[in-house]
């Protein structure tokens, strides 16, 4: 009886939480001003990409090409007041719809309110990929099969969401040594990653896994790992109007979307978001973000970066792995093919 009561109480709370998230998203839609709205061109089976960005012009050309090749048909981008010409670049792209907002990133739950609104408005019924401009999806068979093959298969498997953990990539040597040029594959520079130092715990209320560690844990948060960034992400979802991202793309509501893992010993299919954060652009970015104080938990993450960067940290260690292809990640157990052979 008590268990039943608790179950319904939790259901009720999560439902209230989801409605609150959606209400925020709907209320904050006014903050978004359309710069280029090409959403009328979206066709029923298109896979869409959603993103918030600020001052990322240097990354955009490669980013768009990468995802176009993968099979993204339309990009829906919120620009949070870029000052580096990125907005003008995106405005001219035929498959990008762009919104501008100068509202506070922090006040909009780190951009998630804006994205929840766009997802609700344009994403329903589509497979939607929600990423940052420095995140690059890699999934099993991504060298031979387009993203549509994966989403078709997920449909056939009655799966509505797909897990892709964040994998921090870094260069060997200091960040300044190899400057990043626009249009360049960032993983020519940031070719290294930590293969097996991830900690996983389960978040009871939302049912998602909470993954921490990796190179950021090792270099920046070794004394304070609890506050290290979360690496679990569920970026690919077949969206419905009543879905909402609850905290970045780490977890969603309804809760069942977070169950992207098997608890009986089997493996479900999963991918990785290669994180091209640690490039030459990172040092100035972290200084800027620190002064803006617009990031999660009073930007303590950026504080840690800033402090550590003063010492010119070494990311690379002799146990770092050099990235080759998805086979390697699957062999290491960072991603899994599940039964998608």
């Amino acid at each position: 009886m008590l268990r039943l009561f608790r179950f319904y109480r939790r259901q009720f709370r999560l439902r209230a939480r989801r409605q609150w998230l959606l209400a925020r998203a709907i209320r904050r839609r006014r903050a978004l001003a359309a710069v280029a709205d090409r959403t009328a061109a979206i066709r029923p089976d298109d896979i869409l990409l959603f993103m918030v960005m600020r001052n990322e012009a240097v990354r955009l050309p490669y980013f768009l090409d990468y995802y176009r090749n993968m099979g993204i048909r339309h990009f829906l981008v919120v620009d949070n007041g870029s000052e580096d010409g990125g907005r003008d670049y995106l405005r001219t792209q035929p498959d990008v719809s762009l919104w501008l907002t100068r509202a506070s990133y922090k006040e909009s739950r780190f951009g998630m309110d804006w994205l929840n609104w766009l997802l609700r408005k344009h994403g329903s019924g589509h497979w939607c990929l929600t990423v940052d401009p420095d995140e690059f999806l890699i999934y099993p068979h991504c060298d031979t099969r387009p993203l549509l093959a994966l989403t078709d298969w997920l449909d056939a498997s009655a799966a509505r969401s797909f897990s892709a953990m964040l994998l921090d990539m870094y260069p060997k040597g200091s960040l300044h040594e190899q400057p990043y040029r626009s249009g360049q594959n960032p993983f020519e520079i940031a070719r290294w990653f930590d293969p097996a130092n991830y900690s996983i715990r389960k978040n009871g209320a939302y049912g998602n896994l909470w993954i921490q560690g990796g190179v950021r844990g090792r270099v920046f948060f070794h004394d304070d790992p609890e506050n290290g960034p979360a690496l679990n992400k569920i970026p690919l979802v077949r969206w419905e109007r009543w879905y909402a991202y609850a905290s970045s793309t780490h977890m969603l509501l309804p809760r069942s979307l977070n169950l992207v893992y098997d608890e009986d010993g089997g493996e479900k299919a999963s991918g990785c978001l290669l994180h091209a954060k640690f490039l030459s652009t990172f040092v100035e970015k972290s200084a800027e973000e620190l002064t803006r104080r617009q990031h999660y938990a009073d930007s303590h993450e950026y504080k840690a970066y800033h402090d550590a960067l003063q010492g010119g940290p070494e990311f690379w260690c002799e146990h770092s792995c050099e990235l080759h292809d998805w086979h390697q990640l699957e062999e290491l157990g960072l991603i899994s093919t599940g039964n998608w052979a």
Binding site: H141, T144, R145, P146, L148, A149, D152, W153, A156, S157, S163, A164, M165, D194, P195, A196, N197, Y198, S199, I200, R201, K202, L209, I211, Q212, G213, V215, G217, R218, F221, H222, D223, D224, P225, E226, V260, Y261, D262, E263, D264, G265, G266, E267, K268, A269, S270, C317, E318, H319, S320, L332, G333, L334, I335, S336, T337, G338, N339, W340, A341
Partner: protein, 564 residues
């Protein structure tokens, strides 16, 4: 009874069921016709009209293609059998020269030229290729319904009304409801994709009791996997119980889908047909089937490699990789299917007796020998490196965030066996995990923690307090290692035992870990244990009962002047 006939005597008929992707189906129909076959197409009545018209128009130039009456098809119901019966009847009627009929779907792709299939059928002209297994022996059906498919009623849709479906099945089980199976039928199940001789198919369609059988099968669940499979047993002269169509299912009952990168695999499998093909796998559709040879080959299909790969994928989904904890595999306790991925060894107490035990052991066995991985102050990797295998950090805080992952990661990422020191001073979270892990080998010298205390020079009051704590922790440890749930291989000596014959014990450990037991003759430097008896007596005098040290004489015979 092979009854080989010349290939010219074989005329293949094809019954093709389609419901979507009609363009691809039309292309396949053309391939069949060009290979010399006659085709009867059934299109699901739910398919949009314009698409069907387009398909008919596209195939209008081929008189060998006929379209049968359209039925609304729903998965798992008799409508599929109905559609097959109609199309087959039409085919036999329109093409009296057809000798064999194969059932395919619009999504089936021919992997070999149609002439190869004809040659194969010519070789075994009297055989009916239909997988047909008695229900008791199937074992592959989803949802645990085998025999009950034939004896219960299924008025609710499995896909759309799943809850009602399950509850109604449960109810029928509880009231022990059973339908009567018509006399003369022995229920058989098998792949729905078959290839029958005209004689057998004709006999099934014109069975004098067909109306009775149809009435019965109308309420059987998934009759397309049982109707022809059961009735073929009644009429066939020679059943070859396998399907000529490569069609694999995973444990969700979902068919495997083939993509462009399967091209080589499909080609070398030598199967005649495969399904399902991803509709956008352009390269497969371009390259398959290969052009017909001059001399059609009747070679047997050899799908073993493909079978193995698919079996691996099923195992990956069901069982996963042992000792892997990751974003899409996070097993509950005791469902791990292997808590760790490889054998490892934990040495308790040895490093307390021999200060240089770590390098000594590393020289003698083929393994990575670490210090105290779970030390409270930090992780002691071999050589005291700042990062260990897998880029694991030496930070105790990071390790303690998720010690299980730490351990499983370390073992999974390393090629060599991992060996480390452990003691009651270290973090104890994983005691149960290791004790219930088959890969663990745990060697314990109980009470060895007292040796460093003996030499510590700390005030005796502190020593007594520390000793009490450590003994309590070690007793808990030993209790776990003596529990009935123990899966690890353990060996436990007490300190007194060990000191009586140290080289014998070390030899046994070395032998166990794949080293040369004789290498134990060259013992590492041992801490001085003289005075241990007196030390223990002092602890006793202070009200503590040392339980784990074994026997030490209170007065050391060689140094009897000591003591206070």
């Amino acid at each position: 009874m092979n009854a080989a006939v010349p290939i010219e005597d074989i005329r293949l008929g094809v019954v093709m069921l389609c419901h979507n992707e009609l363009a691809i189906a039309a292309r396949m129909a053309r391939i069949w016709v060009e290979g010399g076959a006659a085709v009867a197409v059934h299109v699901d009545a739910k398919t949009r009209g314009p698409d069907v018209t387009e398909m008919r128009d596209g195939l209008a130039d081929l008189p060998q293609v006929v379209f049968s009456r359209r039925h609304v098809c729903e998965w798992g119901t008799f409508s599929l059998v109905r559609a097959t019966q109609d199309a087959a009847e039409l085919l036999l009627e329109k093409f009296p020269d057809v000798t064999h009929v194969i059932l395919v779907s619009g999504a089936c792709l021919t992997l070999r030229p149609v002439s190869d299939l004809c040659a194969y059928l010519a070789r075994y002209s009297q055989r009916d290729f239909i997988e047909s297994v008695t229900v008791e022996d199937v074992g592959w059906t989803v949802g645990g319904l085998n025999e009950e498919r034939f004896t219960l009623r299924f008025p609710f849709s499995f896909r759309r009304q799943r809850k009602l479906f399950d509850r109604y099945v449960a109810l029928q089980r509880r009231v022990k409801f059973k339908r009567r199976i018509p006399a003369g039928l022995v229920p058989h199940l098998g792949s729905q994709w078959w290839c029958l001789t005209r004689r057998t198919l004709d006999a099934i369609l014109n069975d004098p009791r067909r109306a009775e059988f149809d009435r019965y099968f109308r309420r059987v669940w998934i009759p397309d996997e049982s109707y022809f499979q059961t009735l073929a047993r009644r009429h066939s002269l020679q059943i070859e119980s396998r399907s000529l169509t490569l069609s694999k299912f995973d444990d969700q009952g979902k068919p495997y889908i083939f993509y462009d990168d399967h091209l080589l695999l499909l080609r070398e499998s030598g199967c005649f047909l495969a399904r399902k093909i991803w509709p956008r796998a352009g390269r497969l559709y371009d390259r398959l089937p290969p052009p017909a040879h001059d001399a059609p080959s009747a070679a047997e299909p050899t799908p073993e490699r493909l079978d193995r790969i698919i079996a691996q994928a099923v195992a990956r989904r069901r069982l996963g990789r042992p000792g892997l904890y990751m974003q899409s595999r996070f097993p509950l306790k005791d469902r791990e299917n292997g808590k760790t991925s490889a054998p490892y060894a934990v040495m308790l107490g040895f490093a307390d007796i021999f200060p240089d035990f770590e390098p000594w052991l590393a020289e003698r066995i083929d393994a990575d020998v670490h210090g105290h991985l779970f030390a409270r102050h930090g992780v002691e990797f071999a050589g005291r490196a700042l990062t260990g295998p897998g880029a694991l950090s030496n930070s105790a805080a990071l390790r303690d965030l998720d010690p299980r992952s730490f351990l499983a990661n370390l073992i999974r990422i390393s090629w060599r066996m991992q060996v480390w020191q452990h003691s009651p001073r270290d973090a104890q979270q994983l005691n149960w995990f290791m004790a219930t892990d088959r890969n663990a080998r745990i060697y314990v010298v109980t009470g060895a923690w007292a040796v460093p205390l003996l030499h510590s020079g700390m005030p005796f009051d502190d020593i007594r307090r520390v000793a009490a704590d450590l003994q309590r922790i070690e007793l808990a440890q030993i209790n776990i290692l003596r529990s009935v749930w123990l899966k690890a291989r353990t060996q436990i000596w007490d300190l007194g035992d060990f000191c009586a014959r140290p080289s014998g014990v070390l030899g046994a450990v070395l032998r166990d870990l794949g080293g040369d037991p004789d290498a134990a003759a060259d013992m590492p430097q041992m801490r001085d244990l003289a005075g241990m008896g007196r030390f223990l007596q002092r602890l006793r005098n202070a009200g503590l009962r040392p339980q784990l040290m074994g026997e030490f004489p209170v007065v050391d015979p060689t140094r009897s002047h000591e003591g206070s």
